[in-house]
Symmetry: D2
Subunit: 346 residues, 4 copies
Amino acid sequence: MAMTVKICMVGAGRVGKNHSDAIMGYVPGAQITAMVDPADAVLQATADEYGIEARFNSLEQALDRADFDAVVITTPTFTHRELALQAAAAGKHVFLEKPMAMNLEECDAIIEGTRKAGVHLQLGFMRRFEPEFAAAAERIAAGEIGDPMMVKSNTHGPGLPPAWARDLRTSNGMLAEVNSHDWDCVRWLMGSDLNRVYTEIADFKGKENNVDTPHFYDNVLVNIRFESGGIGIISGICPCGYGYDARTEIVGTKGIMQIGELKGQDILVCTNRDQGLVIPIQRRWQERFKQGYIGEFHHFVECIQKDQTPKVGGAEGRMAVAGVLAGTRSFLEERPVYMKEILEGK
Amino acid sequence: MAMTVKICMVGAGRVGKNHSDAIMGYVPGAQITAMVDPADAVLQATADEYGIEARFNSLEQALDRADFDAVVITTPTFTHRELALQAAAAGKHVFLEKPMAMNLEECDAIIEGTRKAGVHLQLGFMRRFEPEFAAAAERIAAGEIGDPMMVKSNTHGPGLPPAWARDLRTSNGMLAEVNSHDWDCVRWLMGSDLNRVYTEIADFKGKENNVDTPHFYDNVLVNIRFESGGIGIISGICPCGYGYDARTEIVGTKGIMQIGELKGQDILVCTNRDQGLVIPIQRRWQERFKQGYIGEFHHFVECIQKDQTPKVGGAEGRMAVAGVLAGTRSFLEERPVYMKEILEGK
Amino acid sequence: MAMTVKICMVGAGRVGKNHSDAIMGYVPGAQITAMVDPADAVLQATADEYGIEARFNSLEQALDRADFDAVVITTPTFTHRELALQAAAAGKHVFLEKPMAMNLEECDAIIEGTRKAGVHLQLGFMRRFEPEFAAAAERIAAGEIGDPMMVKSNTHGPGLPPAWARDLRTSNGMLAEVNSHDWDCVRWLMGSDLNRVYTEIADFKGKENNVDTPHFYDNVLVNIRFESGGIGIISGICPCGYGYDARTEIVGTKGIMQIGELKGQDILVCTNRDQGLVIPIQRRWQERFKQGYIGEFHHFVECIQKDQTPKVGGAEGRMAVAGVLAGTRSFLEERPVYMKEILEGK
Amino acid sequence: MAMTVKICMVGAGRVGKNHSDAIMGYVPGAQITAMVDPADAVLQATADEYGIEARFNSLEQALDRADFDAVVITTPTFTHRELALQAAAAGKHVFLEKPMAMNLEECDAIIEGTRKAGVHLQLGFMRRFEPEFAAAAERIAAGEIGDPMMVKSNTHGPGLPPAWARDLRTSNGMLAEVNSHDWDCVRWLMGSDLNRVYTEIADFKGKENNVDTPHFYDNVLVNIRFESGGIGIISGICPCGYGYDARTEIVGTKGIMQIGELKGQDILVCTNRDQGLVIPIQRRWQERFKQGYIGEFHHFVECIQKDQTPKVGGAEGRMAVAGVLAGTRSFLEERPVYMKEILEGK
């Protein structure tokens, strides 16, 4: 039997809990042997929940004192570069949550740092491991709908993101925190890089939520032209309230494909004909992409066990960050922004 | 242009209103020129609503004094034989609501009476004119799902039927009043007559509705063996409360076909992720089969204008009545009942 | 009973046939008493099909020699102004297909001409009469999903439009011919005028279809900012091949609403588990909006009979044309275009 | 951390492979340490696939020479009694596939044998652990649809069962092999034992499959009356060809609930408007109930680790066998059969 991969979970918050749940519940080839979080109460609660004994307030301490093969980094974006480089320098494989980093310089540093250390780097784009998205991508690549002409990808999340995640100084806002998966998906499914983007934003709930962050928005629509000549749209709403809504539609020269739906469990009830049919919606990202989270860790573990390069890594993370930066500049400057302005530093 | 067919609507209640709505709103080739109902208040209200001036308390009076080519009979089952024979004797074409009659003797009298008078007789099996059921039947007949093996047909209605419609002395109960369409549909879609039936019934809401009719039931499941060797189920619930639910599923040697769904309008709303998606249900039979009602009257009018035999007439009505009688005998005698016991009067 | 409205159908092509079908088949209050088309073969064939005896090659002739109360204009856009003004001048009510006209000057002339003549003017925005769109609009207006934040409206049509309909000299291209309904719907459903638009286009099938029209495109995505602060997208593809696809999704501060779906008839079949479930798609606009077409003519007839102003007229048609012009200027100039640039002639 | 439960997989065929996949892929708390199958080629292939080194041709040998805490028995029905008793006698916990046994005497022996040995007995009714069925059952029990009145449960499987599974001498045929889950589900969801059953069967594909088993049938409909007064239907088809179809619908005094659907992955494609929408169907039971299989083993492992009684055990298995026997007697004797005839040995 293959060796059990020992993991240090860095970050014990919502994402850290979700990933601990996936690994400890459904990934026999891995074990979380250490957990890190600077917020001690959060650390103790999550580590208790998953029965993890080795607990630290910094990755540095964990690297010193605990035994593990890889880190799973789930902390805020602005910490990614430093943590990834620390882990790589210590020879640990790196699983890094999206968005990869704050800017292209940080992305490049992480790519270079893991490459030099000879460790694997996988990005947390779990949609690539969700059975439906993965099957859809294969079918598109096989030509089932012809040449992709138009893509629409949306991620609408129920609740207000934490303050750091909507402040352009500590994150790149909703386009990064909520729509990172869309940036990656549209490239992946269209089979083309982006050429230019134009963004419209709206702010409907900032006031009622006492948000005073400059440039706050809770609705965004990005119009994209691809290098292939195709076009597309990314849609983000957060908080949308009504559920966790992540769907993609793509039209090719031969036909249309829809991936995902609003519906959660296949349970339909009607107890009032004036109200109508009631069906659970996808409520939280944890449920919506549960199979994708399990799948990405099965893949990460297998890559380590068999010394294979993960299917999705630094290059994909970097392009998603570039899209976010172009989309953000577009609404700040109220004009279409070319990707080369970002990628070539113009 | 073809002549306008003048119609006398016999019965101004729920069904009479529904059919007046279909004819006056959507059938340019016909006009309701007279209306009959013994209940004067109902007659005046419905005739006012549709702008019909000639109003009578009996068909006899209408035949005497008004000008029309055809009758549409929508009164209770126990009146069908007499009204149909009266109209036929006066040379009027007959559109007769289901169930055709109380028993086979009455059916035979109606078939014979209209035949002798040389008038057309169409039964109110509107599912045969509903675009979906009609298209499905054609596709099955063309062999798309192979030889039909198993059919499931259900009609669940929201409200308690009127007293006459659940009393075995004035009607044949729910199997007749609610499930007549299913008896017709399963024969039509399976392409086979019935061989024997076995019925289970349940009474859940009789008490709370103060029903004291003997043998009252509000749930019924009929297990059917067809002459073809196929099998099937008819399901009835009334009152079911939750909507008007009429769906059919049929499995053949090559595959499955489902016809119809619970959903009403294509409007999906979610405003609460703990509740989920909300979609209108089919609420009433008037909405569920609106296209079928319009279609059956287009057909009736065309048959009169072109002197063609309606697609669905006395023979179909009679076989549905036979099924009802066999199903009823089965639950009364707690045993499977062969159709020949009914058809051959054994 | 109300008087029968006599109609002259102007244009005997695809739209003229569709509207004749709706009126002659389902609108008892109206009758087509004359038909006009300069292409005589088309005129004779369609007039034969619907049994219309009075046939003319110009509206002028029809006005001279035939008896009617109203015209239904279904000819190409560049003819709308002249025909509408002719009819109005003769005291005929005007039902005018979308797009209303080529530009705002023509729209203003039509509005003024019908106003002065004291005749009714209804625009062919049948979605407003489609039961689902109409119910959805009412529910939104009643606050069910809160304040509208984001709308997505798409119309994708199966086949290549005729040459005049994709040439910017005789039409305003796909944004006008295919997406006129979307321009009207987004205003209607968002309850707000548009502030600015940004358009991306793509051309995937022009070459294989030997299209040499300048600025031809077969895919378009318009990003919209509304006066209300909301945002939205209009999506057009033609030819898309796969069916007739018209759906709208709108998210408000309280939740999401989806209107319409890809599915055509409710018939689901599976005869091969490797292929999967097969369900009819909406194939043609004639089927997709059949109820809407019938409904808009019921409304037009009722407005004439009762001398009421149609719910949707010149003002709505004019704003849709303004949107088309802004969207077109945007892709020509590769920049966001403000509606006031169009409306104020800047 | 809890101890790892060591499992001996008894049976290396289709079910043995499926369960090995669930345990080795998704149940970190368990490990398959031995595998048993009398067919050596099958044993070697499956053991190779899951990396299991200890391989035996009989459970006796495995008990002698290998180290494990529990057995998972996936062999044909007629072997269940002996294997379960052997394992229990050796102090091993028992996970037993459905159907529990050939008759009530065997069920009683297994229940008694495991009780005396003080080991846990869990039946392979994975629907109870499928998130949708489990959530539905809770909602029904909480009164959401009122008192259950009518249930419909179907299991249609794609391929012809192996010869032993359709021969009434080595199995109880399709009612047992395919519909065991339905017998358990209808009791569970209706919250009531069965009172009597009536069965109709059909044989459409026996001849083309060269089946010469007496009493062979490939379609079955069982009409059920429950002790509660409710009624229901169980539907079985095998081979149905079109996919793996397991759905349940239940109507209570307050409304309707549907559980499960035909659709497999949420990927909709249309590339031909004459064909329509194409959506994957549930193809195989392994995919349809993947979450249920993982869930039942998570539960089995947890019960062993925490010494808790499994939620579904011998009592449930026994009642399902009783239903099968009553249903079979009904079609053999062509009459309704009361459960007490089976349970009281009349």
